[in-house]
């Protein structure tokens, strides 16, 4: 019985449009692989999970089912191995989604094999979060290069909707535009187009802030840093708890890549602190290793002392007076977000200075990237809002006020981005954040 006509917006007339019926996911046993594969089953007829062995692919399918809590994933899924099934399924696929380990050589091997057997009009996408799309495409055929792009889902892709699309210099622009619309309409994504620059938009801006907090933790301790740059500054999770969640090794890979390949005005803040390198050698990798900036001992929460590498129960750590945070969160709790941020701007003392330095650095760094990684601030706003769950830079500017933001940046001894002053001039007093139907309040967490 066909009883429903679940509505979908037709993209048939879209330039570059083509049917996407069969998606093949390579590396379907990894988190990004099976998560993305589950997402594709919502939109296409068949999704093939490929991995080193069929058993591993089946493990990916089982994980996908657990992730979205629906056994119906299986009815559209097939599993196979690189040895037995690769050429057959890749040759049939309309979209080949590569999610193998982040190693350039390995990815080149896979792309060479894809290049040899893919259908001429099939799309090839990589979920890489760090490698250059141009570099990945370079050795490939013209047809491959025209149909290749970066499609950077954030983990877990069934929950986080912000997605970056990175075209290479040879990607067919109409195809990139079609894939963008396809992801918006059929996969419920919020799409951001970024340049092929290290870390793209989200990780470039986000990990700059996270790494600066890692640096500050050396002097001030992780507990204080996570409190002063806490949820009240516009994020669901405090920064160092985020690094623990992401994993210190992943954090290192991302900031090292940006530090090595994108020298910019905030270069120093992207240098991984030496204490992290040392502790990683001893097995400190964040939550997955049981310890990072924080760890649990039974019910007690402990914080790292970066200087000694030892852990202290958090209730035994002395902290300065943080009354301004309490005043701010009390206002945010009842929805007075603008008033709350005025208290932030007026706050004085060492703790407030740390918070202002990080927030001013976030806003300035984001606006400095306009023209380099995205065309306008909107792209960065959207990936920070819907990829990182942080208050987008424009939301902060709108909440502080333009003049106050400029003062905040100057007060932190940072250069005021010309892109910010230009955006403020163009807005003529109207908000910079251009998704006014989004509940801005969701970005403020009163803690």
């Amino acid at each position: 019985m066909q009883v429903t006509s679940t509505p979908k917006l037709s993209l048939d007339a879209h330039p570059g449009a083509r049917p996407i019926r069969h998606v093949v996911v390579l590396g379907a046993n990894g988190t990004m692989g099976f998560g993305s594969a589950a997402l594709f089953t919502t939109a296409v007829e068949k999704v093939t999970f490929l991995a080193r062995t069929t058993e591993k692919a089946e493990g990916g399918l089982a994980a996908a089912i657990r992730m979205v809590r629906s056994g119906t994933v299986a009815t559209k899924a097939e599993c196979g191995s690189y040895d037995d099934d690769f050429e057959k399924v890749v040759g049939d696929a309309d979209l080949i989604f590569e999610a193998v380990t982040e190693k350039l050589d390995l990815k080149h091997q896979f792309f060479e094999r894809i290049d040899a057997c893919r259908k001429p009009d099939s799309i090839v996408a990589t979920v890489t979060s760090g490698l250059s799309i141009d570099a990945l495409a370079a050795p490939r055929s013209e047809s491959f290069r025209k149909h290749f792009m970066g499609l950077h889902f954030f983990n877990p892709p069934n929950v986080i909707v912000g997605t970056e699309l990175i075209a290479s210099k040879d990607t067919d622009p109409e195809l990139a535009s079609f894939v963008e619309s396809y992801c918006e309409n059929f996969l419920g994504r919020v799409m951001i187009r970024t340049a092929d620059t290290p870390g793209f938009a989200g990780n470039r801006v986000g990990f700059k802030v996270l790494n600066e907090c890692c640096q500050l933790a050396e002097e001030h301790g992780p507990l204080l840093v996570d409190e002063v740059v806490g949820p009240y500054t516009g994020r669901a999770l405090p920064p160092l708890r985020t690094v623990d969640l992401v994993g210190w090794d992943i954090h290192r890979a991302i900031v090292d890549n940006i530090h090595a390949n994108a020298p910019d005005e905030a270069h120093d803040t992207l240098k991984l602190p030496a204490y992290m390198t040392e502790l990683m050698e001893k097995g400190t990798l964040g939550n997955k290793s049981g310890k990072g900036f924080f760890m649990k001992d039974g019910k007690r929460r402990l914080a790292l002392d970066p200087k000694s590498g030892s852990y202290t129960p958090i209730d035994e750590i002395a902290r300065p007076e943080l009354g301004f945070i309490e005043r701010i969160t009390r206002l945010q709790r009842v929805g007075l977000y603008d008033d709350a941020m005025q208290v932030f701007l007026a706050a004085e003392g060492d703790a407030a200075t740390i918070a202002k330095k990080v927030i001013a650095g976030y806003i300035a760094y984001a606006f400095h990237r306009v023209g380099e990684v995205t065309e306008t601030i909107t792209g960065i706003d959207l990936i920070m809002g819907f990829g990182f769950n942080w208050a987008p830079p424009s939301v902060l500017v709108d909440t502080f006020g333009g003049d106050a933001t400029v003062k905040l940046i100057e007060g932190a001894d940072l250069s005021v981005p010309q892109q910010l002053t230009a955006a403020l001039d163009a807005a003529k007093g109207e908000p910079l954040f251009d998704r006014q139907r989004t509940d801005i309040g969701r970005f403020w967490v009163a803690a």
């Binding site: 429903t4 006509s5 509505p7 589950a38 629906s70 945010q332 007075l336 989004t438 509940d439």
Partner: protein
């Protein structure tokens, strides 16, 4: 009839029903504030123009340990201090009762511009405790006390009653669920817009879609939702002033053309016993609909272009389909199979995704339905727009089919 003054709907604002305000560490006042400030921004109504406010809320005393929500309206803007306000409760129909009160005051010419806010913060407690609180919408001692998730069981019984009288297939209930989830994907404020759901899942009989009460499974249920919706109702005089200021034509401003309101006996088994010789399983719901159509001067449901109905469970939407007259009693399945209720069908039901797809912040739902009706008839519903909608009906139900309210919004 013609002597009763008209009531216009100027628009409003709905918070994003996907938000978890407990995780955001917010007080229920923040939710009310965002909805009301959003409504003022959307409609360009100035706080000084608001003359009275009505708040619809079911159980903030339980969920938030906070009563007296009418008073919190005055916290939203300094201009509201001193306004006459009040809070209205009729379980899941609380929002509609607040609307009826505001409407009546405008019709009585006491006030020209009223703000109506529906609000509920539900994620403060776990599923089991929340289910127990919702049990107070039934006769708690007799129907809910000591019962895990009483409401799915009560609405499962509604399905059983249909089955007994007319026959009922679970696949038709699953189709209702799938349509609502599908529509919700087009609604940027819907709670489930990014959830994994499809018709096959809704039909599945596995642990992923476990039974929660009789024939009701997880996919048959509406959601536990935090949300607030604010809207402005205006007299002809206030609407004309608003039109002059915003450059709108008065004939383009939606009116509440008709309303219906009935309350049945509270216990489900008493309702069913009363209706045993009736063609309709819940005759008071039917009267609510026919009263509203009659007051709007609309002969029957063929004059309605879309419906926003109460689908707290798939069985309640199944009931609404024949009670609206889209089919003969007991034949709701025909409207499902023929595609009548799907978006693009003859009379789409819940283009927003309804309570199953968009979410069900109990006290806000009636106001959300009215605002969605307003969006439809003003052509501002975006991706879930019903093309050319002129008249849209709502049906908001409190309890197990106990308090029923319908509004017909049109231009």
């Amino acid at each position: 009839m013609s002597t009763i003054p008209e009531v216009y709907v100027l628009g409003g604002y709905q918070t994003d029903f996907a938000r978890n305000w407990s995780k955001e560490k917010k007080h229920i006042l923040a939710m009310m504030r965002e909805a009301v400030l959003g409504a003022m921004r959307e409609t360009q109504v100035d706080p000084t123009e608001v003359e009275v406010a009505h708040v619809g809320n079911f159980a903030a005393e339980l969920y938030c340990m906070q009563g007296h929500l009418g008073a919190f309206f005055c916290e939203i803007d300094p201009a509201f201090s001193g306004l006459p306000t009040g809070r209205h409760e009729a379980a899941c129909a609380s929002g509609s009762i607040a609307l009826l009160a505001a409407m009546a005051e405008i019709e009585a010419q006491r006030y020209d511009l009223a703000c109506v806010v529906g609000v509920e913060q539900m994620k403060t407690v776990g599923a089991s405790v929340g289910g127990d609180y919702l049990g107070t919408a039934a006769w708690y001692e007799l129907e809910a006390e000591g019962i895990q998730f009483p409401f799915p069981k009560l609405f499962g019984k509604l399905g059983d009653e249909y089955d007994k009288r007319y026959g009922l297939k679970d696949e038709h209930l699953a189709a209702i669920s799938a349509i609502n989830y599908g529509n919700a994907k087009l609604n940027p404020k819907a709670q489930t817009r990014t959830w994994y759901m499809n018709e096959e899942h809704a039909c599945s009989r596995t642990d992923d879609n476990a039974e929660v009460g009789g024939r009701i499974r997880i996919a048959d249920c509406s959601q536990v939702t935090d949300g607030a919706v604010a809207t402005f109702l205006a007299s002809r005089k206030a609407a004309e002033a608003w039109c002059a200021r915003t450059g709108t034509k008065i004939e383009d401003v939606p009116r509440i053309k008709g309303w219906g309101h009935h309350t049945a006996r509270i216990r489900f088994e008493d309702k069913v016993a009363e209706s045993k010789d009736d063609r309709f399983v819940l005759p008071h719901v039917r009267s609510t609909v026919t009263d509203a159509l009659g007051r709007a001067g609309i002969a029957d449901v063929s004059g309605i272009d879309a419906i926003e109905t109460h689908d707290c469970f798939t069985t309640s939407e199944y009931m609404a389909i024949d009670h609206f007259g889209l089919t003969e009693p007991g034949e709701s399945w025909k409207a499902i199979e023929e595609g009548v209720i799907a978006l693009g069908g003859k009379c789409p039901v819940n283009p927003s995704g309804g309570l199953i797809g968009a979410g069900h912040p109990v006290g806000a739902t009636g106001v959300r339905q009215l605002l969605d009706a307003h969006k439809q008839v003003t052509g501002t519903a975006g991706d879930y727009q019903v093309e050319g909608a002129k008249n849209v009906a709502t049906l908001n139900i409190g309890g197990s089919g106990t308090t029923s309210c319908t509004f017909i919004v049109g231009t």
